[in-house]
């Protein structure tokens, strides 16, 4: 190559790039859910074990490969073993799918951010119905935050079959999100290196502010106590261990090729072992930190809902029995109820069905993950805080930073192999290649802004990356250890970085991590097979809640296509190389 490979200006930029890529939305909206489901404080035990046994070794492996080979994923794996260039291609395909649907989340974050500059917040009040005597029906049945998410943001259709039209508002936000990503990756490491300072550090600032605010909220301690009381019996549940392993795996972003791409811009003598350990520890600590914030917010929301439930019961009883206003309070509610039941039995039995049993536990138990947590639960908590506009802006700004940070890694995974390829980079400058990739992804991403777009989003989210990634990382680990040779890789590493390989890494790469990945893959496959038909949650506007529906056959076909298109690259790549080599050998034999 005529030009020297662009490098990170300082090793700190590389660390920040990895952190901003790994610390993403999953830390905020998936880990707290898992923590709640699998025993609160005791979930940390399998989580930390999996981090040391699976997370750190595989992260180090990817960074080492990238730094030694100094090329993107396709070039790196072709150098290691020409038959496995398919692994690199599979990584690029998965990254491409991911970048298509991931930026839609940034578009939603932009939408909410722009709507946060209003008083009152648009998701805190229901819109009025036609003759202005009450509120919109769908909004009454659901809640105002759910209505704003499902109706105003997504304008969701009742099922995946009814696609509807492209909504221009989310489409505009999506275009803006892609323009922002393009601006950040335009100049390669030169621009990315500066942007990652913001995308890595700003979310922490916001989290700290939220931590202080969250801990001082009324009822926050309820949520924290609920989350952190360890339920030790969950340690025996195999699902807890499997989910811990899965969370570590996907949270670090292994197998996409982004880490290889980032590491390829390193100085050869960079100490990537230290950086691997630092990045994985910071990623996990951020998850735990974010779940503290999330649970104090949960506690606040649950306490608020519990108290409004109690107030509704008090109002109902006060109105039915014409008691003096202010006589019934939370403290004397039970005694008065029993008194009324005995004194006016007939009237009480009329009113009784409407009296809800308010329970703080049941409010806390509503575990939510994913977009539901970020855009419904959090907004519900924010609308009840004072100066809610400020908190809303801060929160969605943080979501945006987390999302853009991850997008930088995803696009780097796609662009690095393209810019490394001499064929493409001789025709087009890298600005044009980046622009083309962003344009194509944006155009396809407009599918997710249709009325049924959220259902397609869930398909991509659940199936595009899960199984293919496990296979890719398994092949990567097996290749480095057995096909290429662990000793050979060790000597390569020593020659490039000047440091020897610890026995711990060798043991993990050779044995433990591949075994873990195989067991995860087996679990996933058996899960898919035993559930039979795949189902999804559809929003029913008439009832104001989610209902479960089956996927139509063409959706199932697309799911299969998604999984196949990335996993098939591996054997096809091997086959292709074999054929090309066979032809070349045939040519040289005929010439000689």
């Amino acid at each position: 190559m005529d030009e020297a490979r662009p490098l990170w200006a300082t090793p700190l930029q590389f660390v920040f790039a990895c952190i901003s890529y790994a610390v993403g939305l999953g830390n905020v909206w998936r880990f707290p859910y898992l923590c709640q489901m699998y025993g609160g404080g005791s979930f940390l035990v399998p989580y930390i074990i999996m981090l040391t046994v699976e997370g750190m070794p595989l992260l180090y492996l990817e960074l080492a490969v990238g730094q030694c080979m100094r090329q993107g994923s396709i070039g790196a794996w072709r150098t290691i073993n020409p038959y496995l260039s398919g692994v690199g291609v599979a990584s690029v395909v998965v990254s491409f799918f991911l970048s298509m649907y991931y930026n839609v989340i940034n578009a939603w974050a932009f939408w909410y951010l722009f709507h946060s500059f209003q008083d009152p917040l648009p998701w805190s009040v229901c819109p009025l119905n036609g003759n202005r005597t009450g509120y919109d029906e769908e909004c009454e049945k659901a809640s105002s935050t759910q209505y704003f998410w499902y109706r105003k943001t997504l304008n969701i259709s009742p099922s995946i079959q009814e696609s509807g039209a492209v909504q221009w508002e989310p489409a505009l936000c999506l275009i803006l999100a892609w323009l922002l990503v393009y601006l950040c990756i335009l100049r390669g490491t030169e621009s990315t290196g500066k942007v990652v300072y913001f995308t890595a550090l700003l979310p922490y600032c916001v989290l700290v502010i939220y931590l202080v605010r969250g801990l001082t909220l009324h009822g926050a301690t309820n949520g924290l106590a609920y989350m952190f009381t360890p339920k030790m019996e969950q340690l025996a549940n195999p699902k807890a261990w499997i989910n811990a392993a899965t969370q570590i795996f996907f949270s670090l972003g292994l197998g996409f090729g982004s880490l290889i791409a980032f590491a390829s811009y390193n100085e050869p003598s960079n100490n990537c072992q230290k950086h691997a350990v630092i990045v994985s520890i910071i990623n996990s600590s951020t998850s735990i930190f974010a779940s503290v914030v999330t649970f104090s917010i949960y506690g606040f929301k649950a306490t608020f809902n519990y108290e409004s439930c109690l107030n509704k019961v008090i109002l109902l009883l006060t109105n039915s029995f014409d008691l003096e206003d202010g006589f019934l309070t939370v403290s004397n509610l039970e005694e008065v109820k029993s008194y009324l039941a005995s004194a006016y039995p007939s009237k009480y039995s009329e009113v009784f069905p409407q009296i809800k049993n308010c329970s703080l536990e049941s409010e806390l138990e509503t575990a939510v993950q994913g977009t539901g947590l970020a855009f419904i639960v959090y907004t519900e908590a924010i609308k009840n805080m004072e100066v809610s506009q400020l908190w809303s802006v801060l929160y969605f700004f943080m979501l945006l930073m987390l999302g853009i940070g991850s997008m930088l890694g995803n696009t780097a995974a796609i662009l690095t192999p393209l810019t490394d390829s001499k064929v493409i980079s001789s025709y087009l400058p890298k600005e044009a290649i980046s622009g083309l990739v962003c344009l194509v992804s944006c155009a396809i991403g407009l599918v997710f802004t249709m009325e049924a777009g959220n259902y397609w989003f869930d398909i991509f989210n659940d199936y595009a990356a899960t199984l293919p990634l496990l296979l890719i990382v398994l092949v990567e680990a097996a290749t480095v250890c057995y096909l290429y040779g662990l000793r050979r890789f060790e000597s390569d590493l020593k020659a490039t970085t000047g440091r020897a390989l610890n026995w711990y890494w060798k043991a993990m790469w050779g044995g433990v991590s591949p075994l873990l990945i195989i067991s995860l893959s087996v679990f996933y496959l058996s899960d898919y097979i035993t559930t039979g038909t795949l189902q999804y949650q559809a929003w029913d506007a008439s009832q104001g809640q989610l209902v479960t529906k089956d996927y139509p056959p063409y959706a199932l076909a697309i799911i299969g296509l998604l999984v196949a298109s990335s996993t098939m690259c591996i054997p096809l790549g091997a086959l292709g190389t074999f054929i090309v080599r066979h032809l070349k050998r045939g040519d040289t034999a005929s010439v000689a």
Binding site: F110, W111, F114, H115, F117, Q118, P120, V125, P127, L128, R132, T133, G134, Y135, L172, C173, L176, L179, L180, Y182, L183, L186, R187, S191, T318, N319, D322, L323, E324, D325, G326, P429, E431
Partner: protein, 222 residues
């Protein structure tokens, strides 16, 4: 005789105003919820004010300008505070139709609320739905303004970066070719200096080192 008439009148009134009677409405106030410590006690004076407000609302309806405070009847006042009321016509034998009372109250709801320092939720007229205030809709939604600002900033920044990238690219392409031009020019000027072509061998390959010349001269002063 007068006492009998009085009893008769109050009996008729009692019949006109009854919970669930035709054209009667129930009113519910939540004073402590609305005003907390500053809640006033609900007494006959407050009731008089209420009757006055209802009469005022009815007087604004065409054909009902003759409504007096005494035409508004209250009954069944509870501790809640809640009571029923009806509005009678000047003959005090019939009650005014519910529809008229409903529309009158709806139109003047704000004045009635303000008279008691209450709002639609704390002064409830059951069966008279309040007209809810629609949220203020600015002509241009605020989010589009902020979107427009961000969009312009990003487009401008992108254009600047692309243009500076193109300029750098051009400078790099010009650079090597410019260097070659100056070298050629230098050689050309040397050759054609003074109009006489100098011997190329003199200038190329070998320069006189002045330092050595001076050394020799110093060393041999004789």
């Amino acid at each position: 005789m007068l006492w009998l008439l009085f009893f008769l009148v109050s009996a008729i009134h009692a019949e006109l105003c009854q919970p669930g009677a035709e054209n009667a409405f129930k009113v519910r106030l939540s004073l402590r919820t609305a005003l907390g410590d500053k809640a006033y006690a609900w007494d006959t004076n407050e009731e008089y004010l209420f009757k006055a407000m209802v009469a005022f609302s009815m007087r604004r309806v065409p054909n009902r300008e003759a409504t007096e405070i005494s035409h508004v009847l209250l009954c069944n006042v509870t501790q809640r505070v809640s009571f029923w009321f009806v509005v009678t016509d000047p003959s005090r034998n019939h009650t005014l139709p519910a529809v008229e009372v409903q529309s009158a109250i709806r139109m003047n709801r704000n004045r009635i609320n303000n008279a008691f320092f209450l709002n639609d939720q704390t002064l409830e007229f059951l069966r008279i739905p309040a007209t809810l205030a629609p949220p203020t809709d600015p002509s241009v939604p605020i989010w589009i303004i902020i979107f427009g600002v961000m969009f312009c900033i990003i487009i401008v920044a992108t254009m600047l970066l692309i243009l500076s990238g193109i300029r750098q690219h051009r400078r790099k392409n010009k650079g090597p070719s410019e260097m070659e031009d100056t070298e050629d020019k230098w050689e050309n000027t040397v050759k054609i200096e003074n109009g006489i072509p100098c011997d190329p061998l003199d200038m190329k390959g070998g320069h006189v080192n002045d330092a050595f010349v001076t050394e020799d001269e110093r060393l041999t002063p004789l």
